[in-house]
Symmetry: C2
């Protein structure tokens, strides 16, 4: 009985479908929603860092927190670009599936830039942090240029 | 000139508005989109853990990765529940703003459960991990019961 209550609560928490399909391949529309969610949150936490480049006050705590969040978030979108999502109406370009090695390279470039930002955020060198923020932004932009509809 | 190219690229990456408003209060609809994105990704990474409770094969690497992601993600939704979003059409209940201390307590309960999951995921005790997954699910469900429309 206790078990049943727990699972009811979990099912509520996760929404219909999730708990049941656990390790099964998620539906294309779910994959799209999840990858877009990761992109939305990357924007949320990169935004204030770009603000610093544009003259907003430098806050080392915000930089360190956002860098750590970006380190997690930039690992999250990629499995959402499954072949099964090719038919979904999104801004994702066919090049994602036509040039998988190039798409993977773009992901790696972002991951590398974020890694450098995390490292810089642990040091005290504002200049290094700002350069790293710029490189993360460039990695985002370069991937969008090649793989996202304008 | 180089600077201009960088900022153009960043602006593309972040989408209109973000880069400009950096530290300004985001618009209510943006806050809603961001907090819903965090909830979506919490579901993505809790789902497979709940699957383990339901009999899916235990994978310590998946558990550790998802626990770490949940540790970041469960810090992300809360600033999205700003008073300015009260009028947005969502499933968020008025209790969020009427009972802020209770809402904060629910957040803390989730954060505590996720902290225990992270700790358990670093040990080798499957039973402890499973109990911790159950507690995270209960924290999600209990907050949804009180603060989210059915």
């Amino acid at each position: 009985m206790k078990k049943k209550v727990l699972f009811t609560s979990l099912a509520l928490a996760l929404g219909a479908g999730f708990a049941v399909t656990a390790f099964a391949q998620a539906k294309p529309e779910v994959l799209v929603k999840q990858r877009q969610a990761a992109m939305t949150l990357q924007g949320k936490y990169l935004g204030p860092l770009v603000g610093i480049l544009k003259g907003a006050p430098y806050d080392a705590n915000v930089v360190a927190r956002n860098a750590a969040f970006l380190d997690a978030l930039t690992q999250m979108p990629w499995d959402g670009f499954a072949e099964s999502t090719k038919g979904e109406k999104t801004r994702a370009l066919p090049a994602i599936w036509a040039e998988p090695a190039k798409f993977k390279q773009a992901q790696d470039q972002l991951r590398s830039a974020v890694g450098q930002l995390v490292s810089a955020s642990k040091g005290g060198d504002e200049g290094a942090v700002k350069a790293a923020i710029g490189n993360v932004g460039k990695a985002c932009g370069s991937c969008h240029d090649n793989f996202r509809e304008k």
